[in-house]
Symmetry: C2
Subunit: 142 residues, 2 copies
Amino acid sequence: MLSIGTLAKRTGTKVQTVRYYEQIGLMPEPGRTDGGQRRYGAAELDRLAFIRHSRDLGFPLEAIRELLDLSDSPEKSCAQIDAVAQRQLKAVEARIARLQSLKAELQRMISECHSDRVADCRILEVLRDHEECLSDHKGPDL
Amino acid sequence: MLSIGTLAKRTGTKVQTVRYYEQIGLMPEPGRTDGGQRRYGAAELDRLAFIRHSRDLGFPLEAIRELLDLSDSPEKSCAQIDAVAQRQLKAVEARIARLQSLKAELQRMISECHSDRVADCRILEVLRDHEECLSDHKGPDL
DNA sequence: GCTTGAACCTACAGTTGCTGTAGCTTCTAT
DNA sequence: ATAGAAGCTACAGCAACTGTAGGTTCAAGC
């Protein structure tokens, strides 16, 4: 049996994060010692490792919840799992595209600034007026 | 003089967001009508446009605060402004690198899944075990 | 001048995914 | 037996907004 600290260390998680996952129902309520401390087994270790790895790959917690639910029905088709992964891939690709357009714009404004005084700094000029930009580079979240 | 709604519309901001910027001191407290409604002039319009455009380029609010402060000293050197932009560029590049490694991993696990049953879905297998991955793809925030 | 409805006001809760703190209790090693 | 590390709960805070409730004001049309 593992303490919460050991479980956290083994999975590269913080103790509070483990408790947070329990609070939002992503991790089950574990057994407790007589004194009230949490004790975990191998199944919980695996589940937490799954959660962490999915987070590292950028899956939102709600998607991870879906994946965990789906993996409880081993005989079903894995089409839904595929769909969740595809959705995540699309999200990642969209973010990359957005960031690349930001990168180009930032590089351009930095390279264009040959001034030395704030008064005619190209960076500020570009930030003041979106018309100075080549692309639209707007979007929801980064 | 512009109402908050007009100001928001002209800059592509939400009314609440404008009030939020005021609350955190990024926008100044504007004049008010006798009835207590906010009224804005051209300077505030420009300032908000600057903030929005900077946000669209991914600058955090604290960086924008720096830029606005710096632009109040037109005779100073623009080295600090350059530094803020460079910092943002580095942050964007780091994010792109991270996301590209996630993208590769996601593509790989999706393409490897030829199964039809959840029980032997490659996606779940990879998520269960980080050793299945090619790269480390870990990092702070996306 | 009056009415109506859109737009405004404040204040606060909720979002995502944690992280940090305070004040206390329990466990484990010596 | 005791000390200190690690655990417990509960709550506040981060970024950067967004949404809601319950009330007030503004501006246009008659």
